[in-house]
């Protein structure tokens, strides 16, 4: 029980990364692989924020001016993960537009059949 309460966030984030890697390795449809990319990004962001947590901490906002600055959680991982979430949505939109263009040209989205085409 003590082990579970200490490491439950790591288990959740790490399980997401492993499942997303399995989708990327063994599925053949292109849109399924893009869904796997999205789940992978979510797992990595959760891992980074879980590392920056301090026990009995509170959010780093001084809503009334006499809050104790000793037990606030780390603000630097939050700023980095904010940037990472926005960049991942931009990459996903670009990948989906390329998938639509591929479907118009080859009439299929199976990666095995697309790799066999010449030129």
């Amino acid at each position: 029980m003590i082990f579970l309460s200490n490491y439950i966030y790591y288990i959740g984030a790490f399980g997401l990364i492993l499942i997303a890697l399995y989708i990327l390795l063994t599925r053949h449809n292109l849109i399924k692989k893009i869904i796997g990319l999205s789940i992978l990004a979510t797992g990595v962001n959760l891992l980074i924020i879980a590392i920056g947590y301090i026990k009995e901490g509170t959010a780093p906002i001084f809503s009334n001016p006499n809050l104790n600055p000793q037990n606030m959680v780390d603000p630097v991982p939050e700023a980095l993960v904010l940037t990472a979430i926005v960049i991942s949505v931009a990459v996903l939109a670009m990948a989906l537009s390329l998938a639509i263009r591929l479907y118009k040209h080859y009439r299929t989205l199976d990666m095995r059949k697309i790799k066999e085409q010449r030129w």
Binding site: Y22, L25, T26, I54, S63
Partner: protein, 231 residues
């Protein structure tokens, strides 16, 4: 086919090896104990040096403002690429869309200004409450998505949105260059800091967040419009 089975089993074995190797290193990281000291400096000196009450906002826009400039550039390039890839498909005759019922279209039209107001409130108060430009811009884009889905045959004017997006990015750059003119370095906080916890405080941070809010909102709306338009 045994080929697919072999591929699945090899994938599983590879994942077990990766999992074993990473678990051996994650056990070394304790949970809930303070580890770094950079965050302590930002928390202790954040209000005096920037004037913003939200420490995450002052880290994103004042201490690490150059990274935010790079992120805004990446969003611009992605929206540009999507318009270039999908915009050159030849348009055939449009299919007939069945018009939606009166309840649905009137409800969407009534909800739309409230969603825009909520998104504007979030990016205007980015330095006082949790929030900021990126969250507010995404909510504005969701409002436009609602009108696309609910009311038929309502499309945005593409030119106006492109002009808004480019002007907002230019305002961000000009505010940074003004810091170079007035002080020593790029993105210097040159406006007065004011009293903390009021609306007009924290120097240039509200101005940059307003520009980012407009930019992200119009950009994501343009992305959705490029994707929905049938060819």
């Amino acid at each position: 086919m045994s080929n697919i089975r072999m591929r699945n089993i090899i994938g599983l074995i590879l994942l077990f090896i990766i999992a074993f190797a990473v678990i051996l290193s994650i056990i070394e990281i304790p949970f809930g104990i303070p580890k770094t000291t950079v965050g302590n400096y930002y928390i202790n000196n954040g209000i005096d040096e920037t004037g913003a009450v939200n420490i995450v906002t002052s880290v994103v826009l004042n201490y690490r403002g150059y990274d935010t400039l790079g992120e805004v550039t990446i969003l611009l390039i992605a929206a540009l690429g999507l318009g270039a890839v999908l915009g050159t498909i030849k348009r055939k005759a449009k299919k007939e869309i069945t018009p939606s019922s009166v309840v649905l279209s009137t409800g969407c039209k009534v909800l739309f200004p409230f969603i825009l107001l909520f998104g504007s409130y979030i990016f205007l108060h980015g330095h006082l409450t949790p929030g900021g430009g990126f969250q507010g811009g995404a909510i504005i884009a969701s409002g436009y998505l609602l009108v696309y889905l609910g009311c038929a045959k309502r499309r945005i004017n593409q030119n106006r949105f492109k002009i808004t997006e480019s002007l907002s990015a230019l305002i961000f750059l000009i505010v940074g260059l003004l810091g170079l003119v007035f002080g020593g370095y790029f993105l210097l906080n040159f406006l007065p800091k004011g009293i903390p916890n009021t609306l007009f405080s924290a120097g240039i941070i509200p101005i940059i967040y307003i520009a980012i809010g407009f930019k992200v909102g119009s950009e994501l709306t343009g992305v959705i419009d490029n994707l929905i338009e049938e060819s």
